[in-house]
């Protein structure tokens, strides 16, 4: 960028920044009404989980989470639709390979723990999924071309698992006359766990699959069969 | 849903539906297309006949569709609309027959006849419009449906002509739209009311009313080819002859002239228009157009161009009639709506026949054509003499009433305009007749397409002008007969002035 646009940018930014700043401080200092967080705490007992963040994500605002998973899916499908890129590999070094053999199982184990812990403590599907994704990325970095991922068919199934679980439960509760995604209180804990598990797998798989920046399948082959 | 609420819509649909179906007809299905065309025209004629009878007996016909609160599409029938509907329906039938003959063996006939029917539907919609909004809607649709007809031949000249046509008419449409909306915002829904509907507008708004009138006149003047808005008319001569006939006699210019009549009589009311000084404006424009058009016509060698400038001039008689206060002048102007139509369509049919049969496009090529094509030339002569105003042909009746009305209204300057115009009309028509009848024929015609047989040209080309020429004579000779254009126009004037 040359000098003039920078100057224009700066001139534009300065007053805007001041106004924004003022607004932010006003917002922060204003006494707000009953905050959702308090409300979320008081209703927690009816959700079947002990962690308010998990309750927000999967119970109170499960619909939002379902659509957010849709965003992930759209991004993944978008990356896949862009076609292949040439893989840029370095042959892995011995030490790295040895470390990976330790780290990856550990990551997977931790992800499982986070998923389980999310019900009561900080943790949950997105964090667990992120770890799973990281495991895939590490595998890729060490030359494992398929990132430990299954076949394309299985990848497609995994990618939709989270939304699928949400939809199945949602349509099920709607059909039972309870309303979309209204979990019956006695089943709530287990339905949430089901959705969370599916979501963890979906997020992990999506993150890992997005990393190479192209569709699944044998790398280096420019044209894949329809 | 009774006949009274359905009939106006049915008249529009009787050509709209066949028109839409014709688009789908395969190019080779000649008979099917003719069947659709003619059945549409005949059905429409039947409906119109019912309507004439009903309106004569003070029956109210009204179809209404609400588009938005306070915004209704209204089709209704009063004496003036029936006059225009009858004219366009009759001439549509004749022109369809002519066009079937004329376009034999040319490409894109389905497209042509489809738009041809849509064009008539919109003309009829204009005629039956019950308020200014509806008028505007059909007025714009008319622009759209005639554009493909003008461009039909697809040559660079026709595309250019069509573009000029469109630039003029769409700009005019924008002016008309502005004026109409403004009037709507000022006075509420603008329903056509005999005697005008703006009487209740307070005096301090009269300046606005004048501005609105200028806008409306700007919009209508384009199609009515008032100078200086006439430029498109000679350019759109590139269209096939039946289209020119339709544009000049039935649809486009008439829509403009008809709109001027509506605005003067049924929106402003002639008294208010007079009080605002608008009639003077209109009269001056009309007179200028009459003289300018005739002068330009004198200088044209192209036959269709000469006829086009003649249209510029002749159509303004209608506006001239509207600009003179008093029922007699009204009769003269309104009846010319019909008389100019039948005369001008005759002339264009004949011009088309000369071009199609012998390849004659210019006046200078017409030497001795009367002997080769006597019937066509006879029809042409009737139309031309009528245009000049020779009794007993229809044009005489119009001029007579216009003159009489001018004298009654003490507007003697109109007589000067009429006199000058008649001289000029004679100046550009008589030489043609002289050439056709009295000069010797050349060795060979420019391009003889149709050899002489039992008839001088194809029947479908010959009969239409002969019939319309006959109509010109009948309208003049039997002017006092019941249901003649003149008699009907007197009914309009009586109702308009509340006599």
């Amino acid at each position: 960028m040359n000098r003039t646009p920078s100057l224009v940018v700066a001139l534009l930014v300065a007053p805007l920044a001041l106004v924004l700043l003022w607004a932010f401080h006003e917002a922060l200092t204003q006494p707000s009404g009953a905050r959702l967080a308090d409300l979320a705490e008081t209703s927690l007992s009816r959700t079947g989980v002990g962690n308010p963040v998990t309750a927000v994500l999967l119970s109170y605002r499960g619909y939002d989470t379902m659509l957010e998973l849709g965003v992930l899916l759209a991004a993944l499908l978008g990356i896949w639709s862009l076609g292949r890129v040439s893989p840029g590999f370095h042959p892995p070094e011995l030490a790295l390979t040895a470390m990976v053999a330790w780290v990856v199982p550990l990551l997977i184990l931790t992800a499982g723990y986070l998923l389980w812990a999310g019900a009561e403590r900080p943790g949950g599907a997105f964090q667990g999924g992120a770890l799973l994704g990281a495991a895939g990325v590490i595998l890729r970095l060490t030359g494992e071309r398929r990132l430990g991922l299954p076949s394309e068919r299985a990848q497609r199934r995994l990618a939709i698992a989270g939304i699928g679980a949400f939809l199945a439960v949602g349509l099920g509760t709607a059909a039972a006359g309870l309303g979309f995604l209204a979990y019956p209180e006695s089943w709530s804990k287990w339905l949430i766990l089901l959705i969370e598990t599916a979501t963890t797998l979906a997020v992990g798989m999506t993150l890992a699959a997005a990393y190479p920046g192209g569709p699944p399948g044998p790398a280096g082959n420019e044209r894949d069969a329809p | 849903m009774t006949l009274d609420t359905l009939l106006p819509a049915a008249i529009v649909f009787s050509s709209l539906v066949p028109g839409l179906l014709i688009f789908l007809v395969a190019e080779e299905s000649h008979r099917l297309r003719i069947l659709l065309n003619l059945s549409g025209a005949l059905v429409k004629l039947l409906f119109v006949a019912i309507m004439i009878w009903g309106v004569y007996h003070d029956h109210n016909y009204e179809s209404r569709l609400t588009l938005a609160p306070g915004l209704d599409l209204v089709l209704q029938a009063d004496a003036l609309s029936v006059l225009f509907v009858t004219l366009s329906t009759l001439l549509w039938l004749v022109t369809t027959v002519y066009a079937i003959g004329y376009l034999e063996q040319t490409p894109n006939r389905s497209r042509f006849f489809g738009f041809f029917s849509l064009c008539v539907s919109s003309t009829v919609g204009i005629a039956l419009a019950g308020n200014l909004f509806t008028f505007l809607v059909f007025y714009e649709i008319l622009t759209l449906t005639t554009y493909p007809l003008v461009a039909h031949r697809g040559t660079p000249e026709s595309i250019r002509g069509a573009r000029i046509y469109l630039i003029y008419t769409l700009s005019g449409g924008v002016l008309l739209l502005t004026g109409t909306v403004w009037l709507h915002a000022l006075a509420g829904p603008v329903t056509f009311t005999q005697g005008g509907m703006l009487g209740a507008v307070p005096t301090e708004q009269h300046g606005t009313l004048i501005a609105i009138f200028v806008l409306l006149l700007g919009g209508l003047g384009v199609k009515a080819a008032l100078v200086p808005l006439h430029g498109w008319l000679p350019e759109s001569m590139v269209a096939p002859a039946p289209v020119s006939a339709l544009l000049h006699a039935v649809a486009v210019v008439k829509a403009g002239a008809f709109g001027i009549l509506r605005v003067v009589y049924d929106v402003y009311g002639i008294e208010l228009a007079d009080a605002l000084g608008l009639l003077t404006l209109l009269g001056a424009l009309a007179s200028a157009t009459i003289l300018y058009g005739s002068l330009r016509a004198l200088a044209q060698d192209g036959l269709k161009k000469r006829l086009a400038y003649s249209t510029v001039s002749q159509v303004s008689y209608i506006a001239l009639g509207a600009s003179i206060l008093g029922p007699v002048a009204t009769v003269g102007g309104v009846v010319h709506l019909v008389h100019q139509g039948i005369m001008k369509i005759t002339l264009f049919f004949c011009a088309g026949n000369y071009a199609e049969t012998l390849g004659i496009h210019r006046v200078s090529q017409m030497d001795g054509v009367g002997r080769r094509m006597p019937w066509t030339t006879l029809a042409f002569s009737v139309g031309a003499l009528g245009m000049i105003g020779l009794p007993p042909i229809a044009g005489f009746v119009s001029k007579w009433y216009l003159g009489l009305g001018a004298v009654t209204a003490e507007a003697e300057w109109v007589l000067v305009v009429l006199g000058l115009s008649t001289l000029l009309n004679a100046g550009y028509f008589l030489p043609i007749l002289y050439r056709a009848w009295f000069r010797p024929a050349p060795e060979a015609w420019p391009e003889e397409h149709i050899p002489p047989g039992r008839l001088e040209t194809m029947g479908t080309l010959l009969w239409p002008p002969v019939i319309t020429a006959g109509l010109c004579l009948i309208a003049g000779l039997l002017a006092e007969a019941p249901f003649s254009p003149l008699e009907w126009t007197e009914l309009i004037a009586r109702r308009e002035y509340g006599l």
Partner: protein, 479 residues
């Protein structure tokens, strides 16, 4: 009230199925389109009967749960999306094959999910999520064109789209920090004029004008819309941009009603006017048909922003109802007309291998139904009768005359003439000396959906707009 959730859940379900069975994507997609349209129809009938619908999802009451809500405005846009979406689906089934179909259908159904979700959302954060879903799926679809230009254009589109959403989200966070709620109705009730509200309004509406491609933030739209495959261009121009406009309208009328000022309205109006003139000017000089259509979108969006100043000057009552209906009518008409235009251009492009206007003659002549579609869509874009935009423009002009705002009248009329100029620049190519086509329709599966959309825009919406008034009257403006 499950119809609201179904209208979002069904296209989403179809998107999942099409993802899992890529070989059957077209069939699944068509079935999904039908089911989605049926769900939309259910919502619209219920809104027609009850005036308004709302439901809290997940069995949690409003401050905690998420509200879905529908009123006349949402129903109108839902209906447009359903019809345009069906036509695009039918067209796409014939247009795409093989791998392209496999990529197209899941993304297209996700896009549809996002649209329905956005029109039905009653929660500020949920609106953000639908905006994100909409933006990402739209960008991914836009890049299906595949060549480098398409990807580069999509990239820019993605950047603008994300920045727009984030700007919107910043505003939402401000409102949430100040009022402790995300529910649209609750925040609207609690909102007080002040710096926070003003900054939130600027951030949210500003971010959305980027997505709506309001001049001068339109720069991303023409390349993105012009380089996408035809059915995608249709969806982008007709639906995706409209979603942002819808949201601006919703915020303007519902959320920020107490603090919108004449100055802000005039600013939007002025930008709209500039968009009308600039977009039309560029369309007039475009060399490719798709680029022309895309610039035309810039111009047509401009018209929609002429309404805020008139809203501001018109007191609640029939005049304001008319303006709102006119605005919705223009949104709908443009949606139908522009999708028809892009679909028709797609037919021409497939037939002749290009869309250069100067070399269009022969193709247009040989495809009467498609040329007819271009004509009808053109009529609707110009705003000639009997199109819906004619009625809309009439009411717009009427409002401008009634409130004495002459400047807008001049803009509208100039825009109308310029639109006519670029539409007929294309249409005049259809008349030339090529041989006569044998019949009206050449390829029914692509030509008819486009023709149908164009007919709705140019005739249907003009003549049958009257139900809009009762539909919107029971709705959000509450006057």
């Amino acid at each position: 009230m499950d119809s609201l959730a179904l209208a979002v859940a069904l296209p989403l379900l179809a998107a999942l199925l099409a993802t899992v069975w890529p070989a059957r994507a077209t069939l699944l997609g068509l079935l999904g389109a039908l089911a989605t349209a049926a769900a939309a129809l259910m919502v619209i009938t219920e809104v027609w009967e009850h005036g308004q619908l709302s439901t809290a999802l997940g069995g949690w009451d409003i401050p905690l749960g998420i509200a879905l809500a529908a009123d006349g405005l949402s129903a109108a846009l839902l209906a447009m999306t359903a019809l345009v979406g069906l036509a695009i689906s039918l067209y796409a089934a014939a247009y795409f094959d093989g791998r392209q179909a496999m990529h197209f259908w899941p993304l297209w159904l996700l896009l549809w999910t996002a649209l329905n979700g956005l029109f039905l959302a009653g929660d500020l954060f949920n609106l953000y999520v639908t905006l994100e879903l909409l933006g990402l799926s739209a960008v991914a679809l836009g890049a299906l064109g595949g060549d480098r230009a398409a990807v580069a254009a999509s990239l820019r589109y993605l950047l603008v789209s994300l920045l727009g959403s984030i700007s919107y989200l910043l505003g939402v966070v401000l409102l949430y920090t100040a009022h402790g709620s995300l529910d649209l109705a609750r925040v609207a009730a609690a909102l007080q004029p002040g710096p926070v509200a003003a900054a939130a309004m600027t951030l949210m509406i500003g971010g959305l004008t980027m997505k709506a491609a309001l001049f001068p933030l339109h720069f991303w739209l023409p390349p993105a819309h012009a380089s996408a495959p035809a059915p995608v261009s249709a969806a982008l121009s007709a639906l995706v941009v409209k979603a942002a406009v819808y949201l601006i309208l919703r915020l303007w009328l519902d959320l920020f009603a107490p603090l919108v000022t004449t100055g802000a309205a005039m600013l939007l109006g002025g930008l709209g006017a500039a968009a009308v003139i600039w977009g039309s000017w560029r369309a007039l000089h475009a060399e490719r048909l798709k680029l022309l259509a895309a610039y035309s979108t810039v111009a047509q969006i401009g018209y929609l922003f002429l309404f805020p100043p008139l809203f501001q000057a018109t007191p609640p009552g029939p005049g304001r109802d008319d303006l709102l209906a006119a605005l919705v009518l223009m949104i709908l008409t443009h949606g139908f007309a522009k999708s028809a235009l892009f679909l028709a251009v797609g037919v021409i492009q497939k037939r002749s291998g290009h869309d250069r206007i100067a070399e269009l003659g022969g193709t247009a002549q040989r495809l009467p139904a498609t040329t007819f579609t271009l004509g009808l869509a053109g009529i609707a874009l110009i705003g000639l009768p009997p199109s819906g935009s004619f009625t809309g423009k009439w009411l717009l002009l009427n409002g401008a005359f009634a409130s004495g705002q002459w400047g807008w009248i001049l803009v509208i009329l100039t825009g109308t003439l310029m639109t006519a100029a670029y539409v007929f620049r294309v249409l005049s190519r259809a008349f030339n000396l090529e041989p006569t086509p044998p019949g009206f329709v050449t390829d029914a599966r692509t030509e008819l959906p486009a023709l149908l959309l164009a007919a709705i825009a140019a005739i249907g919406l003009g003549l049958a707009a009257a139900p809009l008034w009762p539909l919107l009257g029971g709705g959000e403006d509450g006057t």
